[in-house]
Each structure stands twice: as structure tokens, then as C-alpha cells.
């Protein structure tokens, strides 16, 4: 097979950061080429250079063997290079279809008028081919991250590129959507499209990748065939050492004190009568399909959204939560799934984002801030979570996606709440760091925190949870014990319709269930 | 090169009245061989901006200064500074309190507006409702013209009722809208007084747009006001002698700078003009386009 794209000896530096040095990539048509590396390894930067967003400082790009200069996104498009960005790049006030075809709108009346009907029709066609149930006329700003991601994918497909770059397309997706995406990838591959695929989910490699290129610290490490190379080898190439990953035993919490109890939580059609409790030292996982309502439950508990009904108890005492500050005061922290909009002040530096929820602690008399103490804490978390940043004064928006996520985690670790709700905590985080975060969550639980983890990655839920709550269409369809199987979870996650709430007896009686 | 330099700090700049004052000053400058500059804030409320202009003028070490105070008290420290530096100050348009100005070239706005009131009363038969559109609620000229008109009506024409006084910043369009609302609210209104050029034109426009006939008296001149008087839409108007004010101010300033004696109060006068006398030479001489 011929190489469609060859990137040779690519160099790229940002002020204070050398993002790429001698980076290499060779992509053939009709192959899925995985690009792997730790957070901040330079994967996104490499791809942005290929997509005409950044100019390279050095090196060469060959397209079909001919050297090319790619200076703008437009030029990349014209050369047949499409990209799905890691960070969503959508116009929230426009509809899904309008987003997909921005700049390429079908026209009528001799090109003078927009043809909205055709636009929506074409979008609907692409959605149908993806088995995505989405009205092309919905405003993108109102969609969940996952659905926005699907719109991005649909947009990239609509370009019909020869080379398609996917930068962590599955970070926000759950298994069903991932399956759908992989089916699409298989189709594209058959059509001879060359796909660069970036992901931190190791299991995906075996499923779709043909070859894997590994990067570390902006440098090329090697390219290996996906099928025959053991995952451990790839990981050790990524992190420069071997990782061990053993699942700790599920501890018994049945005698521990109930810290948080939620009774009959309701909010419109998205949360229906959800009740559960978490005990001291326990990690409660939340599983479910996209839009099952897990994020909504978390936000309602946290006071970020108004709720129509339901009581929240801490240590058996009812607490009034109307605003996030009430929740934090009661000892509940919430790490949002959407770091860009709800998690970070991206224009501020690392230090200030880490202390954002705990600023009071660093305030002396007269409202004076203790910068030195803030610095120490920030540096401590930078070390502990291996956050890749030139200093704690770096603006957060200049960090790689995974490192941004770590900063949100650091913020809540510092706030030290009794109950911590993590919504997709490892989204976009590399294997090594993921492991660190799992260890951290376990340690937090051992210290006596009650932890809720919402995750769309079933292995993660299974790996972490002491018990697993499963939601479907706003209902809590069951709570499983830690040792549950994927099949059991999927059964509950698709248990639709009325009466699901009464189905608790179908579920395995979980250890330590309050009722 | 060594021409005598005399800056005039005015109350305004863009209005035609001030442009006429400037024209007079420029003429005097040409006649007397001196350099003048003419500056004023955008609106008559901007007392502090005028002070800044005065400060810059002083920094240029002028031979004398012409000054039309928006608020003479506020300018006192700088005027004192001028006096200390032996720079003579000639007040124009309205007076400056205290003994600093060596001369004052001004119009008696109160008396002029009172004359407008008398004319209005005569034209409407000494009874009925009238209204005022004034350019400014707080500036000296605005207050004087309003009060001169209103007080004269109260004293001499008790049967004339003043039903509305509104302020339109001398903006033609705003004054038009104001007039229309006043006319709408008072179907039996007999007359209106516009206290400066923009206000007067606004009154004329408003009445015309609503197709209402009433007695309109204006203030100052300008092509549109003159035309309105000629074709009968406006009964008449008060005119000052802006060109004369500008000319006399510069003249007095030059004299004072040379150390010559100057007349303390230079009354530049005002006239009522209407269709009958608009073309008489003494009136035509003080009108501007």
C-alpha cells in the first residue's frame, strides 16, 4: 500500500514548550493508524499541523509523495484532509445541520438563497447513515457533549476526505455510540480513506487499528503493527516503563455510615424518582447510555440545576441545596463532564484554577491572598498528577486536553469534600495517568470519602466501583454489586418504559444497599 | 510670526450661532492683524471640558483670552491664573462674575426672551396656552431664556398659560419629536417659543409635520429660520448679534493686550425680527445663514 501522508522530522515549539521534535508519521490509504502517547505528548499538535491550523517550524509533509505546504484549514480541506478536533469546535447558536455545512451550504435561486430544506435533508442522511437519532434542526448549544461530539463526527464525514484525523472522538461517547463509530470507520476504510486515530482507550487499538505510532515528549518512538504487538509493549513505549494494573478487592461497606442519601429526586422528564445512597469509604459507579440522565442527577444534587422534587440528606440530616455553594458547604463536590465550559477558567493560570474552589483557604486578613501557599499547593498537584505544564503560571487554555482535565481533578481534590461526584473523570486522560487517578480515587475512598463516579466506559465503572447504579431514561433501573458483569449492566441500561423503578427486585441485592 | 495670539474659549462650537461668533472673531483678527483660535465643548453641560480648554489656552501664553463661561465660578482658579500672568480676559456671550474680565461683550438673554414673550402675547391675543422648547435645562443661556420668557409672561400677561417646557439639546430632530408630543398633548396650544436655533427649527418642523397652525417665535437666525419667517411658518424671532459679539470681543482683547482702555460693558444688542423687517439693513447685518 502507498503512503498517502508522510510527515517527516516535524518540529514545533510554543513559547516555553517544545511540543514536537523529530516527529514522524506515515499514513497509508485504507488503514486506521493509531497515534498514541501520554497527555501532552504532542499528538494534537502534530495533527493540527497536518490540518493547516499550526505552521510547522521544521520538517516535511508529503502528500502522495509530493511535498506540500498546508497553510490554512481551507487548504487542508482542498487537499482532502479532514479533522475531528479534540476540543469541540461548534457554533452553539446554530443548528446541527447548519454547523455541519458551515461554509458549504446548499443554495438555491442561482446561489443567492440558502436551501434550508436541502441542508437539513443532507444532514439527516448522514445522521441516518450513522444511526443517530437527531433532528438536524436542533440547536447545538442545547446538546450534551456526547451529542455535540456526534455532530462533529457527522460534520467530518460530510467532507468525504481522503485523510480523516480523529482526535479522541470517543472520549465523550459510550459503548453503543463507539460501536456505531467503529462501523463507520470500517466503512470508510473499505472506501480507501486513511484514518489517523487518537485515543487513550487501549482496548480500541485491537478493535480497529492496523498500525500504531507511539510518541513520547514530542518525539517519535516507533510504529508497530496493532494486531501483533501486546498492549503492554505499547504502553511501555508510551510511558517509558511498564505499568501494573491490578483491581483491588471490593471492600464491604455495609456497616459504614451512610453519608449521602438522595430520595425521590425529580426534574422534568430527565430525572424521574431517583433514590440512592452512598456510604463512607464507598465508590458508587453510575452507568448508563448517553442521555440516561446521570449528569442531570449529579447537577441536581449539586444545586447547579433547579430540581422539581426530592430531598438530599447528609449524615441522615436533610440539607437544603439551592445553589452549588450550598452543596459545597454541605460537603459535596462535583467535577463536571464539560471541562471547557463548566470546569475551568481557561484564561487563568494553572495555579488559580487549582485553588478556585478553595480560595477562602488562601485568604488572609483583609482579603489578602497567600500567593506562596497557592504556589506550593499548585506545584504539589502538578507533581502528584504529573500535569505537563511549564509552570503553575501557564494559562490553562495552552495545556493539552488531558492535562486540563487533571487540573479540574486537582481543584476538587484540594477542596476536600466528604462526597465527591466525578462526572467522566478520565475523559481524555492517558493510560498512565488514568491509573494514577484510579489509585487516587481508591485512596480517597479509603480515607473515608464517599465517591460517585459517572462514567460511560464500562471497564472503568467495573474497575472502580464498589456498587454500580444503572440509569435508563431518567430512571434508576437498578443497583448492582461491584462484581457485576457487563451484560447485567447493559440489561439495566436498556430497561426502558414505566415500571422500571419497580424492578429493583430483579437486580442482584447489592451489598450494603440502604433499602 | 510674532502676531498677537488670542484664543476664544466658547460655550459651543458646532452650532451655527457659535460659528457666527467665530466668523466675527475671524474678521476682527484679519482686520487687526492678530491670530485667533476658537474652541468650545460639544455640549453646554460640559463645564469641566471647557476648563481643560481654558487651561490649554493659557499654556500657549496668549496676549489675551476671550471666554464665554459655562459656569464662571468653576473657572475662577484658572481666570485668577490668567490675571496673575497679566493676560487680560474678555468675557463674551454671558458675563463672568467678579472683576477679572476687563470687558464683557454679551447679550442680555433675559431681556431678549422677555421681548419674545411680549411679542408672543401680542400675537395670540394676550391669552391662551403656550409652550417652550429650550436647548438646555441647566446652562446659563438656557436658564436665562426660559426664565426671561416665563417670568415676563407671569408678570405682564397673566392670562397666558405656559403648559410645557421641554429640553431638546438644540438637536433639530429631538426638538421636532418633542414639539409633536407637546402639540399632541395640547390640541388648543396657541404658540411655541424655541429658545435657540435648533429648538426653533424643531418647533417649525414639528408643527409642519402635524399640519398645525400656531404662533412660533424663534431665537437666533440661520437659513431655515429665516426661510420660515419669510414664508410665515414662524411669526418672528429674536436675534442677537453673534458676528458683532465675536468682532467686539477680539477688538476689546487686542486693546486690552496693548494696555489701552476698553469699555467695560459692550452691549451687543438684540432685535426682534419678522417678515416686515427681516430685510432691513440693520437686521440683515446681524443675521447669519
Amino acid at each position: 500500500m502507498n503512503a498517502v501522508v508522510v510527515m517527516k522530522d516535524i518540529e514545533k515549539s510554543f513559547p516555553g514548550v517544545r511540543a514536537l521534535h523529530n516527529a514522524q508519521l506515515e499514513l497509508r490509504s485504507g488503514e486506521v493508524h493509531a497515534l498514541m502517547g501520554e497527555n501532552g505528548a504532542g499528538k494534537s499538535t502534530m495533527m493540527k499541523i497536518l490540518a493547516g491550523i499550526y505552521r510547522r517550524d521544521g520538517g516535511e509533509i508529503l502528500l502522495d509523495g509530493k511535498p506540500v505546504d498546508i497553510n490554512s484549514p481551507r487548504q487542508a480541506q482542498d487537499l482532502g484532509i479532514g479533522i475531528i478536533h479534540q476540543e469541540l469546535n461548534l457554533m452553539p447558536h446554530l443548528t446541527a445541520a447548519q454547523n455541519m455545512f458551515i461554509g458549504r451550504e446548499p443554495r438555491k435561486a442561482a446561489g443567492l438563497l440558502l436551501d434550508e430544506g436541502k441542508l437539513n435533508g443532507q444532514a439527516a442522511e448522514i445522521f441516518a447513515s450513522m444511526h443517530l437519532k437527531l433532528d438536524p434542526r436542533t440547536l447545538v448549544g442545547g446538546l450534551t457533549i456526547a451529542r455535540q461530539q456526534m455532530v462533529e463526527i457527522a460534520k467530518a464525514l460530510s467532507y468525504r476526505s481522503r485523510v480523516l484525523i480523529m482526535d479522541e472522538p470517543t472520549a465523550a461517547l459510550n459503548d453503543a455510540e463507539i460501536n456505531e463509530l467503529f462501523a463507520i470507520i470500517a466503512r470508510l476504510k473499505a472506501e480507501g480513506v486513511g484514518i489517523v486515530y487518537i485515543s487513550h482507550k487501549m482496548d480500541e487499538l485491537k478493535r480497529i487499528a492496523d498500525r500504531v505510532t507511539i510518541m513520547r515528549d514530542g518525539e517519535y518512538i516507533g510504529t508497530v503493527p496493532a494486531e501483533t504487538t501486546p498492549v503492554e509493549k505499547i504502553i511501555s513505549m508510551m510511558v517509558g516503563r511498564a505499568l501494573t494494573d491490578e483491581r483491588p478487592d471490593v471492600p464491604d461497606h455495609s456497616n459504614s455510615e451512610v453519608v449521602l442519601e438522595v430520595r425521590n429526586l425529580n426534574r422534568g422528564a430527565t430525572i424521574r424518582d431517583v433514590s440512592f445512597s452512598v456510604r463512607k469509604g464507598e465508590i458508587l459507579g453510575f452507568a448508563g447510555l448517553m442521555g440516561a440522565g446521570r449528569t442531570e442527577v449529579a447537577r441536581a444534587i449539586f444545586g447547579a440545576d433547579r430540581r422539581d422534587g426530592g430531598d438530599i440528606f447528609m449524615h441522615g440530616k436533610k440539607v437544603d441545596i439551592h445553589m452549588p455553594q450550598d452543596a459545597v458547604r454541605a460537603g459535596i463536590g462535583y467535577l463536571s463532564e464539560d471541562r471547557k465550559h463548566f470546569g475551568l477558567a481557561t484564561g487563568m493560570d494553572v495555579r488559580n484554577n487549582v485553588v478556585l474552589a478553595s480560595l477562602r483557604r488562601f485568604t488572609g486578613p483583609g482579603g489578602l491572598l497567600k500567593e506562596a501557599a497557592m504556589h506550593d499547593v499548585a506545584v504539589r498537584y502538578i507533581d502528584q498528577l504529573a500535569i505537563k505544564t511549564p509552570s503553575d503560571k501557564q494559562e490553562v487554555r495552552l495545556l493539552s486536553g488531558g492535562n486540563q482535565q487533571k487540573i479540574v481533578i486537582a481543584k476538587w481534590l484540594l477542596r476536600d469534600c466528604e462526597v465527591l461526584i466525578f462526572d467522566e473523570p478520565t475523559r481524555g486522560i492517558d493510560v498512565g495517568a488514568k491509573n494514577e487517578i484510579y489509585k487516587l480515587l481508591n485512596a480517597l475512598a479509603q480515607q473515608g470519602r464517599a465517591i460517585i463516579v459517572i462514567s460511560s466506559e464500562l471497564p472503568e465503572v467495573l474497575r472502580l466501583s464498589h456498587r454500580i447504579a444503572v440509569m435508563c431514561e431518567g430512571r434508576l433501573t437498578g443497583i448492582l454489586s461491584g462484581g457485576a458483569s457487563q451484560e447485567e449492566i447493559m440489561h439495566l441500561a436498556t430497561l426502558r418504559g414505566e415500571g422500571a423503578n419497580n424492578n429493583n427486585k430483579q437486580t442482584k441485592p447489592a451489598k450494603g444497599e440502604a433499602k | 510670526q510674532d502676531k498677537m495670539y488670542i484664543p476664544l474659549i466658547s460655550k459651543g462650537f458646532q452650532h451655527q450661532f457659535w460659528q457666527a461668533v467665530k466668523a466675527g472673531a475671524d474678521k476682527a483678527a484679519a482686520d487687526l492683524g492678530v491670530t485667533v483660535t476658537f474652541e468650545g465643548p460639544d455640549s453646554e453641560t460640559q463645564v469641566d471640558r471647557q476648563i481643560d480648554m481654558l487651561a490649554a489656552a493659557l499654556a500657549k501664553k496668549p496676549a489675551a483670552i476671550g471666554f464665554a463661561a459655562l459656569d464662571s465660578q468653576a473657572a475662577l482658579p484658572l481666570l485668577q491664573q490668567a490675571k496673575d500672568a497679566k493676560i487680560p480676559v474678555v468675557a463674551f456671550d454671558s458675563g463672568v462674575e467678579g472683576d477679572i474680565p476687563v470687558a464683557t461683550a454679551s447679550t442680555n438673554n433675559i431681556a431678549a426672551a422677555a421681548l419674545a414673550a411680549d411679542k408672543m402675547a401680542a400675537l395670540i391675543g394676550d391669552e391662551g396656552k403656550v409652550a417652550l422648547v429650550v436647548h438646555d435645562q441647566t446652562s446659563r443661556t438656557g436658564i436665562d431664556r426660559r426664565d426671561g420668557f416665563v417670568n415676563r409672561m407671569k408678570e405682564a400677561h397673566p392670562k397666558v398659560e405656559i403648559v410645557a417646557i421641554e429640553y431638546g439639546e438644540g438637536d433639530h430632530l429631538k426638538s421636532t419629536e418633542i414639539t409633536k408630543a407637546i402639540l399632541q398633548a395640547n390640541p388648543d396650544l396657541k404658540g411655541m417659543f424655541g429658545a435657540n436655533e435648533g429648538s426653533a427649527i424643531g418647533v417649525v418642523n414639528g408643527a409642519k409635520e402635524l399640519g398645525r397652525q400656531l404662533v412660533i417665535i424663534g431665537y437666533d437666525s440661520g437659513a431655515q429660520q429665516k426661510a420660515a419667517i419669510r414664508d410665515g411658518q414662524m411669526a418672528g424671532a429674536i436675534t442677537q448679534n453673534p458676528v458683532g459679539i465675536g468682532y467686539k470681543t477680539v477688538e476689546a482683547a487686542v486693546k486690552a493686550a496693548k494696555g489701552e482702555a476698553v469699555e467695560k460693558n459692550i452691549d451687543t444688542g438684540f432685535y426682534y425680527y419678522d417678515k416686515t423687517n427681516i430685510d432691513q439693513p440693520e437686521i440683515a447685518a446681524v443675521l447669519y445663514d
Binding site: 487542508a76 478536533h85 457554533m91 447558536h93 447548519q98 443554495r107 443567492l112 434542526r137 | 433639530h172 399632541q184
Partner: protein
């Protein structure tokens, strides 16, 4: 406007449909009701026409401002640009004695040219819109005075000129309805702009730029060019406003115009357009402009003392917007 609403979906701009569309008028209708009850002089044809005519200039300026604001920018130069265009019409018609049509064209072209310049500052030189248009506001203000020789230019030599705003085409067709052409032009401009916003590619990019300019750029679109086009269109509309005011006053008043931008922007924001861009409607802007005119007219009709008029106006603007926020929250 009804373009996308007819299909019953929530798409850009057309948040109003059916009953909601009526509710959007709530504040305006409430105001009209109150004033009608308070004074019999308010609800009269002549006064309604006066209100509409008082809206025409500010309404057209506000439409221009709406375009720029939807892109996430702001245009402080609308007021002085209007004056500048009026002066240009004066130069062409009165100084040079050209025919009416050329004067109209010159005014609109001058507006578009100035808009192109502002747009270039913003898009190419990356000067923040506030500064670029503030600078243009001052430049245009000065140029108007320079060109006109700091005196009004009268249009007495062009008899048809006053008809642009003051004549009544509608009145000649339907004698009972002497709606001035100025009002007609306002509505025509509103309909045309609304059409451009909702149906054409330029409109699509107007919203897209305000929603997420970076995303548009990354989609391979020449964002600069489109942004300049929006500013140019807004400038051209200011040219129309310049013709309206000059025709109304039968003169180009070179000193007028500064301060008008605030009324225009206020109308836009009262009309529900977001200053952070991406969201807005022309119908909202029209309602906003009407609210401002009705308030001014009604308070004057009630003979409220002018200092109190200001207080009441301020309070009602806040109240009107708050009501609108409450209404939307409930929906």
C-alpha cells in the same frame, strides 16, 4: 423571520413562534395600554404616526447595529456615520447639483465604504470593534464638519428630497392612512435585513461569527471577508438612515449624530439581541426601538417633568428587559 419558524423548529433567530411571538410584544403593548388609558391624546392616528416616524431613524440605525452585534462586535459609529452620509448626499445634491438618485446612491455607498473600513480594522488588523468604531465615530464626526464647512447643507435645490422621508406613498394609495415614507422605508429595511439574516449565506455567517468565530475559521471559511461584508452592509444601512434624517430636516446637520449610537444599541439589546453575539432578531430590534419611542412620546404627552421622564425611562427599560427575561425563563 417566519422562514424557519414555519417549520416549527427552534432555529437561529426565530425563537418566537405563534403565541410566543405575541408575548414578545408584551412590554410594548403594556406601555401602549398604560399611555392610552392615561391620556386620550395618546391613541390617535396622528400620534401613532408621529411615534412611528420618530422611530424611523433610530430604528434603521438599530437594524444596522443589530447586524454588527450579532457577529459579536459593536458599532459606535452608526450615529456619526448617519450624519456623514447625510453630508455626502448634501455635497452631491446641493454643492454639485446632481440628480436625486445619485445623491441617494452616494449616501449609501459612503456608508458602505465606511463600514468596509471599520470592518477591515476589526477583521484584518484585529482592532477590537469597540475601538475601531469609536475611532471611526470621531473621524466621521470631524469629517462631516470639515466637508460641510461646519454649516448645515440645505436641500432646497432638490425638491423631491423631503419626500424620501416625509412624503406618503401609502397615503396616496390609501388616503386614510398617511403613513410617511420614512416609516415605510424603516419596515422595508427591516424586512430586507431580516431576509438577509435568515435566508442568505451572509446572514448565516453573521450568526456563525458571533457564535464561535474560531470554529468557523477552522471550517475553512474566510471569516475576515464575511465580517467585513457585515460591517459594510451595516454601513450601507446607516447611509439610508442618513437619507431619512436629512430628508426629515431638509438639511444635513453636520453637528448632529453623536449619542444616537446609544439609543440604537439600547433598542437592539432591549429587543433581546445578545451583546456577546450569535443571537438576535430584527423584529426584536424593531420592538426595542418602538419601546423607546413610545416611552419618550407617552411621557411627553403626559407632561411629566423632563427630569422625571429620564428617571421613568431608565426604570422602564430595566423593567421591560426583566419582564422579557422572566417570560423566557417560564417558557
Amino acid at each position: 423571520m417566519s422562514a424557519t419558524a414555519s417549520s416549527g423548529t427552534a432555529s437561529i433567530g426565530s425563537k418566537f413562534s405563534g403565541a410566543h411571538r405575541l408575548l414578545a410584544f408584551a412590554s410594548l403593548i403594556a406601555l401602549v395600554l398604560v399611555f392610552s388609558l392615561a391620556s386620550p391624546n395618546f391613541m390617535q392616528t396622528s400620534n401613532i404616526i408621529a411615534i412611528l416616524q420618530a422611530t424611523s431613524v433610530n430604528g434603521v440605525l438599530a437594524i444596522a447595529a443589530t447586524l454588527v452585534i450579532i457577529t459579536g462586535g459593536i458599532d459606535l459609529s452608526v450615529g456619526t456615520l448617519m450624519t456623514f452620509c447625510a453630508v455626502i448626499a448634501g455635497v452631491v445634491l446641493t454643492f454639485w447639483g446632481m440628480p436625486l438618485g445619485l445623491g441617494v446612491l452616494a449616501a449609501i455607498l459612503a456608508g458602505a465604504a465606511s463600514g468596509t473600513l471599520s470592518g477591515t480594522f476589526v477583521a484584518k488588523l484585529k482592532i477590537p470593534p469597540f475601538i475601531a468604531t469609536l475611532g471611526m465615530m470621531l473621524i466621521l464626526k470631524g469629517l462631516s464638519l470639515v466637508i460641510s464647512g461646519t454649516r448645515p447643507i440645505y436641500f432646497n435645490g432638490t425638491p423631491g428630497f423631503t419626500q424620501i422621508s416625509q412624503g406618503s406613498l401609502i397615503g396616496t394609495v390609501i388616503p386614510g392612512l398617511p403613513i410617511p415614507n420614512g416609516v415605510l422605508i424603516l419596515f422595508l429595511v427591516a424586512i430586507a435585513t431580516s431576509f438577509i439574516l435568515e435566508r442568505t449565506i451572509l446572514g448565516r455567517f453573521t450568526f456563525a461569527l458571533g457564535s464561535n468565530e474560531e470554529a468557523v475559521r477552522l471550517s475553512g471559511v474566510n471569516t475576515d471577508r464575511w465580517k467585513i461584508a457585515v460591517y459594510a452592509l451595516a454601513g450601507g444601512i446607516c447611509g439610508i438612515a442618513g437619507l431619512l434624517i436629512a430628508s426629515r430636516l431638509n438639511s444635513a446637520q453636520p453637528a448632529l449624530g453623536q449619542g444616537y449610537e446609544l439609543d440604537a444599541i439600547a433598542a437592539v439589546v432591549i429587543g433581546g439581541t445578545s451583546l456577546s453575539g450569535g443571537r438576535g432578531t430584527i423584529i426584536g430590534t424593531l420592538i426595542g426601538a418602538l419601546i423607546i419611542s413610545v416611552l419618550a412620546n407617552g411621557l411627553r404627552i403626559l407632561s411629566v417633568a423632563q427630569e422625571w421622564q429620564t428617571v421613568v425611562t431608565g426604570s422602564i427599560i430595566i423593567l421591560a428587559v426583566y419582564t422579557d427575561i422572566l417570560r423566557r425563563r417560564r417558557l
